[in-house]
Amino acid sequence: MRYDAIVAGGGHNGLVCAAVLARAGRRVVVLERRERTGGILDGVVSTVGRLRPALVAELDLERHGLELVRPEVRMLALRDDGPPIPFFADPARTAESLASVSAADAEAYPRFDAHVRVIARFLGELAEVTPPRLDAGALGDWQAGLRLVRAYRRLSARSARELTRALPMASADFVGEWFATDAVRGAVAARGSLFTAMGPWSAGTAAVLLADSAGNDGGAAGQTAFARGGPQALAAALEAAARAAGAEVRTGAAVERLLVRGGNVRGVALASGEEIEAPVVACGVDPKTVLTRWLDPEEAGPRLRWRAGNIRTPGATAVVDLTLSAEPEFAGVDDPALLGGRIVVAPGIDHVERAFDCWKYGQPSERPYLEATLADGRLHVLAQWVPHAADPDAVGDLVVAELERHAPGIGETVTDRSVLTPAGIERELGISGGHVYHAEPGLDQFFAWRPVLGLARHRLAVAGLYLCGSGAHPGGGVTGGPGRNAAREILAD
């Protein structure tokens, strides 16, 4: 059997890429090392609100079983010294809940929300284009450039200036300019640090925060949407869409190396020794894996290998899954509906920064920044920052201890617990460094230089080799953007 294209890696981006290619009539096979597709949808992330609405329509995901649930409560910000603050989908309602904390912050919130949306909308446009080449101008570059110029012109002069100012900022500063209360600042700013190795005082975290709201209706409170049935249901819908379009999906098929001849990719070799041929290989895995492990060093050359080896992948997020025997009782929460969104423990800028400090020196954060979601008696917790090789049990204990501060007695109700440290994520999902975003979303690995300058247009070192995973622009988070953009480039070639 000969294919037009192989998609290596059956995470959400790989599946998106395969589905788009298959719908364009290409014979595609997806090769997934694990027994299930889905990648980080399988146990790492819980919200899927960043998924591009256009993609849902294009792949007809609803017909393939996807149902998105958008809770009215986006975020419940737990505090050390007061009742939790709920953030709602409706900014006006959030302002009401902020009024009990600070009148000034309540007044500022709707304006801040609008500000975030204006900039995020531009980032949404940016996410749709393939980054231009920064040397000579090819035709495609002009089209992308025009689209961006048009989007830029739609901004007012003030917004355009604010955009260039906001992106390189530290989220602590970005948020600090609007809000006075530390608890509000912490909860809103922390999102710029999720899945990263950057505390809120690191420059560029504002860009991460804004990207989280790009192309979706996140706004200031952040995207919060679930797939009914859990994130795996999104993977199932994507897989169904790909299959319906004619793509083949093989699990338990671990790619070991790329087959290259005469500067052209010609397929992949599996760990089993089997070779599968195709003139196009799109990689949904991280770029470091592709360029330093799968690609023959001779094909990559020493310079590219050095650069690829320097792609920063400091995974610092742990996933702690708790099965509870009873509904958790958070102090100050009288309405269980308030627990329907993201439950966030980031009660202040310094609090979150201190959690990051510990990690810098190789220690797990004593009071980690947590993002939790509750569904079907299970509390799914993301914990920042956790050293790569931390002891999973110790991490689990830390997380439960932190939760215990906000929901006394919750520890007693934990009947089962599983912990994935960054090392665990690396092992289970095969992502370099266990970095959920495949490459740190720092300013140095952004847009036209993500993952490195010269490889941002999805095309990697040899002809026919593409990157369609989160290591490519527009980066991590369950957007489907890299997969979709890569497929567009593959079809254009």
């Binding site: 012109r153 002069a157 200036r161 100012r165 560029g204």
Partner: protein
């Protein structure tokens, strides 16, 4: 009443450069300086009898060669003496880099063969990079709020030069603009004290750590000095940094500029959105078509202009401009030379900078202290002993030692103020840190001057003690410096211009903002 073409507020190096250029073009110019000495932060003062300190700024880094040429500064007394190398003292060892590249590489071989090899490659790359970056220091930023092509025309040559760079340099440029100094260096080197010391230069004067994104760019500054050719741009000015200011002042006077000291501006007078001149604290008013302020934006717009004269949004933007002073200064008058435990005795190792930056973690912990509002318990200190190259700064056989100390945050935790007790504690911490590596330092001290960020604010007039007139963080650079939409030296007040370090390209003893502001102002006059 006297009438001038232009008034320059502030007799710091930028104000003086600006005045000299304006006078050179035939304008009647007066410089108004609050203090009784010229130089602003580039000032030499005899604080301890017989000992002359470069009170604040202590080395010349990037003084623009075109300014030196245009104003013929050597003729007016400018001489830059070599500052050779950087010594990083450690517990039982040291790392010593000198200007002689071959010797530095030999020293690095002692630490890591790999680093010695990488150092060659790194130095060449950085020199190439510096050559590319230099024109940006003379460019006038565009207004990113407008898409009109003529806004961007000034940047087209830069864009073309970028596109024409080899990919490797483009790659490096982007990394330099976005990465942390430590991450950037991690790509090349493994020796901890080497990385710590090199990246320390990336955080001088900023409220950032060496692991904070955006600090890599400043690594280039060292290399920019070196490629200016015949003129040595990295070193100690004869007579201290005040010597630089005095040579510029002399050049300005020679061009016909008037310089008045102890002339404190109380207000910038504005009528119908247009400046008419200034009023001094003495009540005297001085009229002029144009006022160019080298004071920082907080002073210029919030202290010197009547609140009602400015648009509310602009005032808000000025208010949010970040200063965040992060450093202090300890100047010591010494009876003899410090004796380092790692390298005893006197010798040429004392003739360069002595950098107290033993490890990445040391630097980062120093920053962490500051983040939470206290001065570093073990600070980064950049010490130099100018008397070894310029003995006239102290009586025979005696020495002065200048210690730049980071971090010392302007805002202390829990609303504490920099009072005498805090200053004393800060001073003791610095001396303790020095004494760990040079135990005889305590016996040598015969006089001292300690400057906290608050002292710098009060003495020099720099808001929050920020030595660059505003944080050099990415969002406050180029077209956002100091206020988005107002990066081109003009201000919302007609006839009022900015010519200090708060304007592009920012702080450091380079004079570029003063020069570009003068040239832009002259251009606007000729097009009128």
């Amino acid at each position: 009443m006297e009438r001038y073409d232009a008034i320059v507020i502030g007799g710091g190096h930028n104000g003086l450069v600006c005045a000299a250029y304006l006078a050179r073009a035939g304008l009647r110019v007066v410089v108004l300086e609050r203090r009784d000495v010229l130089g602003g932060a580039a000032v030499t003062e005899e604080i301890v009898p017989g000992f002359r300190f470069s009170v604040a700024s202590y080395v010349v880094s990037l003084l623009r060669p075109e300014i030196v040429r245009d104003l013929e500064l050597p003729r007016h007394g400018l001489a830059i003496l070599p500052l050779d190398g950087t010594l990083t003292p450690l517990d039982d060892d040291y790392l010593w880099r000198v200007n002689d590249h071959g010797r530095t590489v030999r020293e690095l071989r002692r630490w890591s063969l790999n680093d010695a090899e990488a150092y060659e490659e790194y130095s060449i790359l950085m020199a190439q990079m510096a050559r590319f970056i230099k024109p940006i220091l003379s460019a006038v930023p565009a207004d990113q709020g407008r898409i009109r092509p003529n806004e961007w025309v000034s940047l087209a040559p830069l864009a073309r030069r970028f596109a024409a760079l080899p990919r490797r340099l483009r790659d490096t440029f982007i990394q330099l603009m976005t990465m942390s100094a430590a991450d950037f260096l991690d790509q090349w080197f493994e020796t901890d004290p080497l990385k710590a010391t090199m990246s320390a230069s990336g955080v001088i004067g900023t409220f950032q750590g060496i692991r904070s994104p955006g600090t890599a760019y400043v690594l280039l500054h060292h290399y920019m000095g070196e490629i200016d050719g015949a003129f040595r741009a990295w070193g100690i000015p004869r007579g201290g940094t005040g010597g630089v200011s005095l040579s510029i002042a002399s050049a300005a006077r020679a061009q016909g500029a008037e310089i008045r000291m102890e002339a404190t501006v109380a207000s910038i007078d504005v009528q119908g959105g247009r400046t008419t001149g200034v009023t001094l604290e003495s009540g005297e008013t001085i009229a002029a078509d144009a006022v160019l302020s080298s004071a920082d934006p907080r002073v210029t717009f919030l202290d010197l202009i009547e609140p009602g004269e400015l648009d509310g949004q602009f005032v808000e933007d000025v208010r949010r401009y970040r200063f965040r002073g992060s450093s202090g200064k300890v100047n010591l008058a010494l009876d003899g030379l410090p004796d380092l435990t790692c390298l005893p005795g006197r010798g040429e190792h004392l003739r360069g900078a002595i950098s107290f930056s033993p490890s990445i973690e040391y630097m980062e912990r120093a920053y962490d202290d500051a983040k939470y509002g206290r001065f570093s318990q073990r600070p980064y200190i950049d010490a130099i002993i100018p008397t070894l190259v310029d003995p006239a700064m102290a009586p025979p056989g005696k020495h002065v030692m200048s210690c730049f100390v980071q971090y010392a945050p302007y805002h202390l935790a829990d609303g504490a103020l920099w009072d005498d007790a805090h200053r004393q504690a800060f001073r003791d911490t610095v001396i303790d840190t020095l004494a760990e590596r040079a135990p005889n330092i305590r016996e040598l001290i015969v006089g001292e001057q300690v400057l906290t960020p608050l002292d710098i604010e009060q003495r020099i007039g720099l808001s929050e003690g920020n030595i660059f007139q505003g944080e050099l963080s990415l969002e406050q650079l180029f077209f956002n410096r100091p206020v988005p939409g107002w990066a081109r030296y003009r201000t919302p007040v007609h006839g009022l211009w900015m010519c200090g370090s708060a304007a592009h390209p920012g702080g450091g003893l380079m004079g570029a903002p003063g020069r570009i502001a003068a040239l832009e102002h002259l251009k606007s006059r000729s097009s009128r």
